[in-house]
Amino acid sequence: MQNFKIIGKDDLLSVATQMKYDHYRLAQISCTKKDKLDLVYSFVKDYDLENIRIELEFDEEIESISGIYSYAFLYENEIKELFGVKIMRISLDFNGTFYKIKKTESKNGEVAQNG
């Protein structure tokens, strides 16, 4: 099975900086919403895959890594909008307009109509 390295949210920027320094490419960022928010950052170098996992409470904030990996803004806008993750200081923040979705699901499962 693949390895998932668990880190704290405060270590994210230093880990991402090290990955960039080691010539890893950011392959994706995903979020799974269960009891907590489960973020997985995947980095690829040649054909080696490294997964970094961070668990967040629903109201916790996390820093954007778009200052390190410029193209992370796409993934971050996506999970901010679809999962409600509070990502701070995204280089290009669409503020909830990245996807033109009509409904937003809150953490307790309620569905609200947008616009």
Binding site: M1, F4, A27, Q28, V44, Y47, S70, Y99
Partner: protein
């Protein structure tokens, strides 16, 4: 400083079969910035995994995209099979590889046709799609479907290809060779096509890496990256070269895709000649997935990442797909800077955008 204007490009545009919007900030006729806007047809297919069990979801995954539908099903199945520790029969791996490479040929021919259309070469567009039609006929013959095949399942494939049909595949591909060479020669040597593409939208190797480019977009900038080298399917058993170019412009991206068509034909012919004689094409699937896995495979547009997380029930906790077009948007935005407005449609097309994939 010249006059600054913002020109909206899309979501409806002749070169865009699917909706994506770019705000092009122009200084006179030159693009100085492009701001993307997607999500016009977001379908929430990832969330649908909460309602469909892990076997049913193969049908959903196939519908993420109509061009590489087989590879979406295959990527999802690979991820689940890795979680469940399933080892497929060799014949199933070879069959999957044949269908995957046929999908690559069909996708690249479709794209070449669209490119010909974008540069105003209507007859070339028709010739490309005529050849693509022959690949669709092979899909029809081997799977019963031309767009969505539903032959991939967790644990293997649903249909075998008998010796007669394998022979027919090789025959069709061999007969296509001369037509393919004469058509692709036009793309690579016609003065007007070269003048539209050469030196336009240049992406250096450093930029390609820094912006996370994948697939032909990265390979055209000299980066040797191809997930088929990871060794899934039948790829460890066949010989193929990763097609690259160094120019990093629209012409290089076209050249890489054209060379990949011939490489795919070679891979299919090798698969047919090496096809294992055992008759098993699937393995029994017992239990439910419990664990998580990232599967990566090389689609026509580049690396796709499939993530599945199972909880021991028949419903997955999460299914996530990162499509190649999503990864290639930042390189596109970068290459748009500095090009003439008239070159934007061709440049947008050379990333081979699949918005259907992006809007999964």
């Amino acid at each position: 400083m010249g006059n600054r204007t913002i020109v909206p490009f899309g979501p409806q545009h002749p070169v865009l079969p699917e909706p994506i919007h770019l705000d092009l900030v122009l200084e006179d006729e030159t693009v100085i910035e492009a701001i993307p806007s997607i999500g016009f047809v977001h379908r929430g297919l990832e969330k649908l995994v909460e309602k469909k069990d892990f076997q049913q979801y193969v049908y959903v995954a196939e519908r993420i995209c109509g061009i590489c539908s087989f590879m979406h099903g295959m990527g999802y199945c690979m991820a689940v099979e890795n979680v469940m520790d399933l080892k497929l029969p060799d014949r199933a791996e070879f069959l999957r590889t044949i269908w995957a490479e046929l999908s690559r040929i069909h996708s690249h021919l479709l794209w070449l046709g669209l490119l010909a259309d974008a540069v105003g070469f209507e007859s070339l567009f028709m010739h490309c799609w005529r050849l693509r039609e022959e690949i669709l006929d092979l899909f029809d013959m081997t799977t019963g479907g031309r767009v969505i095949f539903s032959v991939c399942k967790v644990g293997g494939v649903r249909k075998d290809i008998d010796a007669e049909k394998l022979k027919k595949i090789v025959e069709v591909l061999s007969n296509m060779d001369s037509s393919l060479r004469s058509i692709t020669k036009i793309f690579l040597s016609d003065t007007s096509i070269i003048s539209r593409m050469s030196g336009v939208g240049v992406l250096s190797p450093e930029e390609a890496f820094d912006l996370g480019a994948v697939g032909p977009m990265a390979r055209a900038s000299g980066i040797v990256v191809d997930d088929r080298l990871l060794g899934y399917g039948a790829y460890p058993h066949v010989k193929f070269e990763v097609q690259t170019a160094t120019e990093g412009d629209c012409y290089a991206r076209t050249k890489v895709r054209i060379n990949e068509i011939f490489e795919s034909i070679s891979i299919i012919k090798q698969c047919v000649s090496l096809m294992p004689s055992d008759t098993a094409i699937d393995v029994p699937v017992k239990g439910n997935p419990d664990g998580e896995y990232f599967a990566r495979l090389e689609q026509p547009r580049g690396e796709v990442v499939y993530y599945v997380k199972g909880n021991g029930t028949k419903f997955l906790d999460r299914m996530r797909v990162r499509t190649p077009t999503f990864a290639n948007l930042p390189p596109l935005l970068h290459t748009l800077k500095g090009v003439d407005l008239a070159d934007v449609p061709v440049l947008v097309l050379t990333i081979d955008p699949c918005i259907s994939c992006t809007e999964r």
